[in-house]
């Protein structure tokens, strides 16, 4: 470090380490003012600086034919043809949601939408990935209720359909729930807005809601673990106002139709600080703000408070001077503030004035360029033994199926998605409940397939395999609806990175993701990192949540998971070895969370994905579903429920067919179940490309399920078990 530790340092370094404080002294050549220290503190928080993760994030593939803009901007942008672009990102709101589930989740949705429309896209779909503690934990029910209510409350009001998501329960989330929200937007490829400032002298304009003392230091909170008194030290929670957000979307998009905007950036974590520093920093410019001009809803706010406030529904932009009046008029129509609060300068400094006094005067570039970067020590996760099917007890298939289908991780999520408006905008082709949501584009021809996925139990057991599996599962889900997987966004949810085991999980997951993205030509275009998801030293199961986006050139060709007709061939694509390590069967029926997770063969994933897509495009399939959690029989049961028709299943009598319970419930990767009127044609096509495909049965006219000719269970019973769990669990809500 350049300077010796100063003799005098403030008692409260606001979360900065001693070394980091020294760095501040070196940059400024003097002691920071209170406001300046606050700015360094939030900008160098884990949340804003990615100081523990950047080294590893950089290894991910981020380019490709269809990538218009990869990580580094507010959201990623991909080319979807015909001059259209899809813009998307996922973001976590874990800590706020644990403290105040409704507002935490709601503001998470609001925040990620701003990241997307700030780039010029109209948000067309939202998704969310949720992780809650054990259902029997006293806090779980209330968190589920509040989070779901909050996501719906915000998304429904702004009129963006929430079309998909995933929800898991595990005791490791008892003290740290995960709330990851994803937004997908649509823009013209030549009308994308970035955050790089240009043009010294240009006005810096604040639009949207007024600033209050909401969530000051939220970014720092997201960068620290909880301890027992966290619930006491609650910072002011941000309250969302979806109505204002809706107006802000319309006003911004209307202004974006014109040539007024030089650059624009939402005020997310670290509010006015990060937006102004990032804009100026990217443009290599200075920025001067008169904080007295900031619209405020509380009196007596200090420079520090104004800069660090995380009030919601606000944006910062640089306008062409001659367009200010026009912008003003648009925002007036929507009854939103639109105020010039400063200008760009050539000084390279951020200068803040409040009541005529300079409260900060600091060089912009070093705030990001000299931000601390850590190569934290990490320890690889020890490999787990492979569990042989013979060593796992076999349970009656019908009982096992019913148990699994009613288990917290596999039970129907209808209770959740029916609280989300998933139909508004009138383009939802595949509603929640299938493999991926499909949203039609306004041209009525193309469609986007959207999904979020992650299996934390695999990641905990073997981070590399788990990271890889999360990526391929989204790839499979998109392929299963006939979409070409284009790119992903990722939300890395982990524990405390200062612990080498946790850092090892992070490094392993990233490596697995890297390998999968490279092999599948499926780059990462945006993402988010949430560390310190830990309470009293108890870390969460690592959750690198992947949000996948796929393209359907002809949306009418998509297929869903529902059985359609009686007597159709049921074919499995992909080999079944009967892998039970880390399976839900092992956990739910044998009470064991053990073993190595199923391996992922990237070449096979790619081949099978391509095959399924080609068959869907060729109109050969009537239904398609990937096989994942719970294995083959669970996948078949889901298809039966969706189509309200049963099936006859025949176990192959091959030499290498695994024991029945492993064949039915093993979680081998790379598999799809498809149905077709012409089963022979499917088998031939599959065999032609060297894919493993086997006819395992046929659909029925009625609602019974049979296994080798013996009755298994009726659809009615199955439905009652599957649909019953979550509503009856939540009915005990107080």
């Amino acid at each position: 470090m350049a300077t010796k530790p100063a003799a005098k340092r403030p008692n409260d370094l606001m979360g900065l380490s001693n070394d980091e404080y020294d760095r501040v002294l070196a940059i400024l050549g003097r002691e920071p003012s209170h406001t300046e220290l606050g700015i360094f503190s939030v900008m160098w928080s884990e949340h804003c600086s990615y100081k523990s993760s950047k080294k590893w994030l950089k290894t991910l593939p981020t380019t490709g034919d269809r990538v218009i803009c990869g990580p580094g901007e507010n959201a990623g942008v991909i080319d979807i043809g015909d001059g259209d672009a899809a813009i998307f990102k996922i973001e976590s709101h874990n800590h706020p949601s644990y403290i105040e589930p409704y507002q935490g989740a709601a503001t998470g949705v609001g925040g990620i939408m701003r990241d997307v429309f700030t780039m010029g896209a109209r948000p067309i779909a939202n998704l969310n990935a949720l992780r809650f503690g054990d259902p029997s934990h006293p806090k779980t029910r209330q968190l589920v209720s509040g989070v779901v209510h909050g996501i719906g409350g915000y998304g429904n009001c702004v009129g963006v359909p929430t079309v998909g998501g995933e929800t898991n329960f595990h005791s490791s989330y008892n003290g740290n729930c995960l709330v990851n929200a994803m937004t997908v937007g649509l823009a013209r490829a030549d009308r994308i807005f970035y955050s790089k400032a240009a043009g010294p002298g240009n006005p810096v304009v604040y639009v949207g809601a007024k600033t209050g003392r909401d969530g000051i230091h939220g970014a720092t909170m997201a960068s620290a673990e909880f301890n027992e008194d966290a619930e006491e030290k609650r910072p002011t929670v941000q309250v969302g106002d979806p109505f204002t957000e809706k107006l802000l979307i319309e006003a911004c998009l209307e202004l974006m139709e014109t040539d007024a905007i030089v650059c624009i950036q939402d005020m997310g974590a670290a509010g006015l600080t990060s937006s102004s520093v990032e804009m100026a920093g990217k443009g290599g410019l200075g920025i001067e703000l008169d904080l007295d001009k900031v619209p405020m809803r509380e009196s007596g706010m200090s420079a520090y408070e104004i800069m660090l406030s995380e009030s919601q529904e606000r944006m910062l932009m640089v306008l062409k001077p001659e367009r200010q009046a026009m912008a003003q008029k648009i925002f007036e129509k929507y009854e939103l503030d639109c105020v010039t609060i400063g200008k760009l300068t050539t000084t390279g400094h951020l200068v803040l004035k409040r009541h005529g006094k300079v409260e900060a005067d600091m060089p912009v570039q070093p705030i990001s360029e000299q931000a601390p970067q850590y190569d934290r020590p990490w320890k690889p996760t020890p490999k787990k033994p492979v569990i042989a099917a013979q060593d796992v007890p076999s349970h009656d298939p019908a009982t096992a199926l019913k148990t699994l289908m009613a288990s917290p991780d596999l039970a129907s999520r209808r209770w959740i998605w029916e609280q989300y408006d998933h139909l508004v905008r009138g383009h939802t082709v595949q509603r929640p409940g299938g493999d991926a949501a499909v949203v039609r584009l306004p041209d009525l021809k193309k469609g986007l397939a959207l999904v979020v996925d992650c299996s934390p139990r695999y990641c905990a057991a073997d981070p590399e395999v788990g990271g890889m599996q999360a990526v391929v599962e989204t790839y499979r889900n998109l392929s299963a609806v006939g979409a070409r997987p284009i790119a992903i966004t990722d939300n890395m949810n982990f524990g405390n990175p200062e612990r080498p085991e946790i850092m090892g999980q992070f490094v392993g997951c990233i490596e697995g993701m890297r390998l999968a993205c490279e092999a599948l030509e499926y780059p990462v275009v945006s993402g988010n990192v949430s560390l310190y998801n830990e309470t009293n030293g108890q870390a969460i199961l690592p959750a690198p949540v992947i949000g996948g986006v796929g393209l359907l050139e002809d949306v009418d060709l998509t297929v869903d998971i529902a059985f359609k007709d009686a007597g159709q061939a049921i074919i499995i694509i992909g080999e079944t070895e009967g892998w039970l390590g880390q399976s839900l069967y092992l956990r739910e029926l044998c009470g064991r969370e053990e073993g190595a997770p199923p391996p992922v063969a990237l070449g096979i994933e790619k081949r099978h994905g391509g095959l399924v897509r080609a068959m869907i495009e060729g109109g050969m399939l009537s239904a398609c579903h990937d096989v994942s959690d719970g294995g083959l029989l669970v996948a078949l049961a889901e298809m039966a429920l969706a189509g309200n028709r049963g099936f006859d299943l025949t176990v192959p009598k091959e030499d290498d067919t695994p024991p029945l319970h492993a064949w039915l419930f093993g979680e081998d990767q790379g598999r799809y179940i498809v149905t077709a009127a012409d089963g022979e044609a499917v088998l031939q096509t599959a065999h032609r490309v060297g894919a493993w495909a086997f006819r395992i049965g046929q659909t029925r006219a009625d609602g019974s399920l049979t296994l080798d000719g013996r009755a298994l269970i009726s659809i009615k019973d199955l439905r009652a078990a599957h649909e019953g769990w979550l509503p009856s669990y939540m009915a005990q809500e107080t």
């Binding site: 309250v239 204002t244 509380e298």
Partner: protein, 80 residues
């Protein structure tokens, strides 16, 4: 006995409802309307005859259910 509970947002917490109401009053032509805040008002019939006990119980209800003490304050008043 009846408990009258008021649940209001803490100072400084954004009140989108209050804001919208204030704005609407303005549009309707009411002049001189300043800050508007909206809260909840809950009436609870209680079997309890003992005032002190009733008050303690209702406070507990507020802490546990009626108010979200992260962002809200509450007051309890007993009548009858």
């Amino acid at each position: 006995m009846k408990a009258k509970v008021h649940v209001t947002l803490k100072n400084g917490v954004l009140d989108p409802q209050g804001k919208a109401i204030g704005h609407a009053l303005d549009t309707l032509g009411f002049k001189g309307v300043g800050d508007v805040r909206q809260g909840k008002y809950i009436e609870i019939e209680l079997a309890e005859k003992d005032r002190a006990k009733a008050e303690a119980a209702v406070k507990q209800m507020c802490e546990k259910l009626l108010a979200n003490t992260v962002i809200e304050n509450y007051t309890v008043e007993l009548v009858g």
